[in-house]
Every structure is written in C-alpha cells, then in structure tokens.
C-alpha cells in the first residue's frame, strides 16, 4: 500500500522516524550548545521534509554537495548519529579531525562532499564534480542544496551558468526558508527563485518543501530531467526556518516566528497528521518513536562526549600532502602549548 504516489507505508514510516530523530537531535544539540558541550549550531528545524525527500530520491551513486543546515538529509541518507556528533564535538574520531565548526560535515563514504561556511561557494565545485563524473563515466548525478540567500551570491550565478553551458547533470535545490539571517526573501530578491534559471536556460520548479508528498512529487520531475542528461535543473523548495539562524542569533530582533515546534503547521506535525488520518500510524507509535529517538540521541551524545580531542599537534597536518618546512618548524616551535 502507498500513502501517496510511489510512497509506500514503510517509506513514510522511515521518513517520519528520521524526521523525528533529526528534530530530536537538533533540540539536543541546542541544549548541548547552551551547556558549552558543543560550540555552535545552525538548527535545521522546519526544513526536515524537503531534506528527507531529497535523500529519498537520491541514489547512492549520486553525489551531494549539501550546506550547513541539512541535518535531516544526512540522517535519511544513513549517516550514523555517532559520526554526526563526532563532527559537532570536533573530537579525535571526527573524520575531519576537528578542523571545522559544527554542522560543516564531509561524509565522503556517503557520497557527500564538504560543507564550508562561505555561502554559495560550494556551488561552482558541483560543476567541476559533475564534469569529472561525466568524463570518467561514473554513474549518478550531482545534487546540491543551498539557501535563499545563496541565490544572491556570485557563486550561484557562476555555477548555474557553467552547468548550463556544459550541459551538466547538476540538480540545484534551493531550500528557501524565508530568511537569510535577518533578511527576508522579499528583500533578498525581486524575482521568484525558481525562475532564476531562465538567465541560463535552466528549467525551474517550486515545491512545497514542508510537505513530504509534495516535495517527492516535485523532485521527481527534476531528478528525471537531470538523470536523462538534459542538463541542470533548479528546484525551489519553500520551507521555513523555525528557529534562530544559529545559536548566536536572536530572531526576536527582526521577526515573529510563524511556525513553532509541534504547532499544526510544523512540517513534521503535518506528516504525522496525514499518517494518523490514513491510519498508517497511531498515537502510541508517535510516542514511542519520539521516546526512542530521545533515548538514542541522549545516549549517543553521552557516549561521544567521552572521546578525547585530536592530538593538538595535528593542527599542522593536512595543509599539504607533505608539510613544508614552515609547518614542520611551526609544529616544533608550538610544542603543544599556547
């Protein structure tokens, strides 16, 4: 039985569970940040549905250049909580050796690229990656996510332009959450984002990114187009940043929250309500899902917190394949203390 379109009940349940885990994780991280356990966080609350839809649509072979607010995307794609926490904590288990701020993931094994802070600057890389994969005849397309603010950057322009000129299989997905820190989308641009591809001959589509079914349906067309080798495609997913921009931000300065955790318009609640209505789940399932998510997340943070930080002298590694005399000398001089 399918809850809608091609979505089976099992898939819907899985998606729901992952959304709950993502939400629970997000809340946990914020409290860990307040306690000084984790340094920083950009909450993904409110954007889970489109992120889960992307992960559901993507093949394992597809390469994803995500951005810093994609927690649910990683979880749906199967990245274990342990690895996520290791990065957030910057501990010695972190695949990136504690080099980046929290939320700046790079899960190569799951065919993710590397998240960076400068907004939009991953986008030109997607073009080169897609070129390389086509040239080396690798399977899969390249998918990238970014915010509404990112569409203003020069990198966005450069990337769409090049992807179009070289007819590359890149699926650009804008998670338009209505805000770039304090700047609403209405002040960010006078054009509709999904139409911005027109400047490059790239088709576009807007989807309701807070609705799993609508997101999946909308993405289908985009994935089909790109997989067929017709070139890049631009999706604008309308969603909403439920919390502050980051743990350093105070949204009261500039807006009234329109969607809050657990309210009727909360995207997870919407999925929940749909599944309840269709009898796919019941309220005890919801309770147990939330409880077990909480237990899992709490336990995992507890566990990962005990992992020590990387060796301090490792900060001199990986500047180059082989450190130059400069890093070696500085490593010696630093002698592990400030």
């Amino acid at each position: 039985m399918a809850i809608a379109g091609n979505l089976s009940n099992e898939q819907a349940i899985q998606a729901y569970k992952n959304a709950v885990i993502a939400r629970t994780l997000d809340i946990k991280i914020i409290s860990a940040q307040r306690q000084g356990i984790i340094g920083f966080h950009v909450p993904a609350q409110g954007q889970e549905m489109i992120q889960i839809a992307i992960a559901m649509m993507a093949d394992n072979d597809d390469l994803i250049f995500a951005y810093y607010r994609d927690l649910a995307l990683y979880i749906q794609r199967g990245v274990p909580l342990s690895l996520i926490f290791d990065q957030m904590l910057g501990n010695s288990n972190d695949l990136q050796k504690g080099r980046q701020m929290p939320d700046h993931f790079s899960f190569k094994e799951f065919n993710f690229s590397s998240v960076q802070s400068p907004v939009g600057s991953h986008l030109p890389l997607t073009v080169g990656a897609a070129y390389a994969r086509r040239y080396t005849k690798k399977k899969g397309i390249v998918i990238t996510t970014f915010g509404d603010g990112a569409t203003s950057t020069s990198d966005f322009h450069a990337a769409l332009h090049m992807a179009s000129v070289f007819n590359l299989p890149v699926l650009f997905i804008c998670e338009n959450n209505g805000w770039a820190i304090s700047v609403p989308t209405s002040k960010q641009t006078k054009a509709e984002i999904y139409k911005k591809g027109t400047a490059y001959g790239i088709p576009g589509k807007r989807v309701d990114g807070n609705d799993l079914i609508a997101s999946l349906a909308g993405l289908q067309e985009a994935f089909d187009y790109v997989r067929a080798g017709k070139g890049p495609y631009l999706v604008e997913a309308l969603t909403y940043r439920m919390g502050p921009h980051s743990t350093s931000d105070d949204p009261k300065k500039y807006r009234v929250d329109e969607i809050t955790d657990g309210s009727e318009n909360d995207p997870i609640r919407r999925l929940e309500n749909l599944m309840l209505k269709m009898g796919v789940i019941d309220s005890s399932f919801i309770q147990s899902t939330k409880a077990s998510a909480k237990e899992e997340v709490d336990k995992m943070l507890e566990e990962r917190m005990s992992i020590p930080p990387p060796e301090s002298s490792s900060i001199f590694d990986d500047v180059y394949e082989e450190p130059s005399w400069i890093q070696e000398e500085e490593r010696r001089d630093s002698d592990g203390s400030d």
Binding site: M101, P118, S182, I315, D333, G336, D338
Partner: protein
C-alpha cells in the same frame, strides 16, 4: 566621557557621523533590523531609515561595488562585510576598482568609502570566522588599512577614516569587541592615520603589535615584568616607519606579534623596514610571534593564537641573545 566597549564606541560614532553628515550611508548584510551580527550598527535603521541603513542581499562583491559607486558620486558609504573571511568575493572590486580608481583617472575620481569588517580568532569560529587577512590589503597601494585595539582608538580611527577622501579598510578585532572597556570622550576626536601609539615605555626590547594582540602583549609584559616598550601600530598601511625604526634603534631588540600567519604577515614588512634602515642597531634577531601558516583550526584554536607562553619564549630568546 563614558566607559564603553568597542562595539558601543563604534556604534555611537557611526550614529553621530550619520547625524552630522547626510552623505553617510551604512550598508551590508543584516546591518539594519538586526543591527549587525555583532550589533555595531544597532539602532541606526530606526534612527535614520532604510534609505541610509541598507540591508543588502548576500553578495559581498555587490555590496562593495555598490559602495564604491556611491563613493564616486558624492556619498560617504560605510559598508560592512560580516566577517573578514567573507571579503574575498569582493577582492577584485577592492584591488582593481577601489584601490586604483583615483590613480587610473588621474585624480578625477576618488572612492572615499570605509569598509568595516570584524577579523581574527578567539570566538571558536573555525576556518571561516577567524581569519586575519590584513596582508592582502596592506600589499595593495591605494588602500589605507587601520585596526583599533581599544574603544578609544576605534572611535578616533573611525572619525579619521571618515575624513579621508580615499578608501579605508577598517579591521575590527572581534575578540576585543566586548572584552575591554575604556573611557571614550563624548566629543568627536581623531586618531591620526599613519601614527603608531607607544603603549608602554621600556628599555630592554621593543614589541611591535596591533589590533587583537595588543591586550595579550600588554598583559604578558606586565605580568612578567618585562622592561619592554610596546608599540601599537594602529595603522597598517601606511605603517609608521619612524616609530618602527626608532624602536629598533632604541632597544636593538625587536619582536613582532600578530595573529595572521607568519609568511608575509605584517611582521615581514616590519622586519624588512628595520633590516633596511636600522641594521646596525640590532642586537638580536627580529622574532615574529604570529599565527601559524595553516588555515585557522576549530579545535585547538587556543594553540593557534599567540599567547603568553609564545611571547615570553621570544622575549627570553631575544633578551638572552
């Protein structure tokens, strides 16, 4: 006189400059409603309206290019780049348009803008919220580069930058935004561009520093009773060559301290100026205590930043020489 921190000092000065000169326009990401992510532009929107305090789209090239166009045609824009790490998308506008406009037009156009940006580490910001990129600007003739190390200089340098008819890169050490308070006069005053400040007299050696490292150096020498003179450059382009050369001649022992990476950091130019002009006075090597030649790490950032131990180790080496 009020006891205020650097954010308050900058905010107050911006507000007053806007009040006295209608040509002053503030623009940048989140500078309006939000008052800037560090609150340096707080309340300016309420007071002066959105024609003069502009929340821009997310594009630094556009912000800086637009500010440059404003400056060429009669306004006095004060643009903010949210973190210095994000100034590079505007680098072409800065190097190729702003720095060269007066020159290329034979002096018929100029670009009197101020480009404010918080720089430096110490806020657990990792690779992309911690960079100290002053060298990229100091190498660029046509720019003026200043950095205050305290609330007083912040106000004085901002007023001086405002009076200049050429582009000023105004680097704000974000670590010091709220960590120090100082008495700052209510009247406007200037801190001369191009003039260093001697923060402390001393005979045994000279420590030349600026911006974010000033309090670290001062605390270190005071705590360890080092008989050092301490110089705060305040302006990085043009540097106060006289102050630098005099320091070398006076003590013969010079240490430079900055947060930016060593290779071609500002310390290199200081060394070179001394090696050119005061070589015979030198009694010891010129040592550089600086950030490392690596990207700015997230974990162990305290290791990256020059601190007491590294400064004292250089002091002792130089004194023992």
């Amino acid at each position: 006189m009020a006891l205020i921190n650097m954010v308050q000092s900058l905010n107050k000065t911006l507000e007053e400059l806007m009040g006295k000169d209608e040509r002053v326009i503030v623009l940048g990401e989140d500078v309006g409603r939000d008052g800037g992510v560090f609150r340096v532009t707080d309340n300016l929107l309420n007071k002066y309206g959105d024609e003069r305090v502009i929340d821009t789209p997310l594009n630094e090239l556009a912000i800086v290019g637009m500010a440059a166009g404003m400056a060429m045609y009669g306004l006095k824009p004060i643009a903010e780049v949210q973190f210095q790490d994000y100034i590079f998308p505007a680098f072409d506008q800065i190097v190729n348009n702003i720095a060269k406009m007066r020159y290329r037009t034979g002096g018929r156009f100029n670009v009197p803008l101020i480009l404010r940006t918080p720089y430096g580490g110490g806020v657990r910001g990792g690779l992309y919220h911690s960079q100290s990129g002053e060298s990229y600007f100091v190498h660029t003739a046509g720019l003026t580069v200043v950095t205050p190390s305290n609330p007083f200089d912040a106000r004085g340098l901002l007023v001086s930058a405002y009076k200049k008819n050429d582009p000023v890169i105004f680097l704000e050490p974000k670590r010091l935004y709220r960590s120090i308070k100082a008495e700052v006069p209510d009247d406007m005053f200037e801190v001369d561009i191009g003039k260093a400040a001697k923060l402390k007299e001393g005979d045994d050696l000279s420590i030349i520093t600026y911006g974010s490292m000033v309090p670290t150096v001062m605390t270190t020498v005071e705590k360890n009773n080092v008989n050092a003179e301490v110089i705060d450059l305040r302006t990085l382009l043009p540097m106060d060559v006289d102050a630098i050369v005099q320091a070398a001649k006076k003590t013969g022992r010079v240490i430079v301290v900055h947060e930016a990476p060593r290779t071609l950091g500002v310390g290199a130019e200081i060394s070179a100026l001394i090696a050119e002009r005061a070589i015979d006075s030198l009694l010891a090597p010129i040592l550089r205590v600086t950030g490392y030649d690596i990207p700015f790490p997230y974990t162990h950032e305290e290791l990256y930043l020059p601190g007491e131990k590294r400064i004292m180790s250089a002091v002792n080496r130089v004194l023992a020489y």
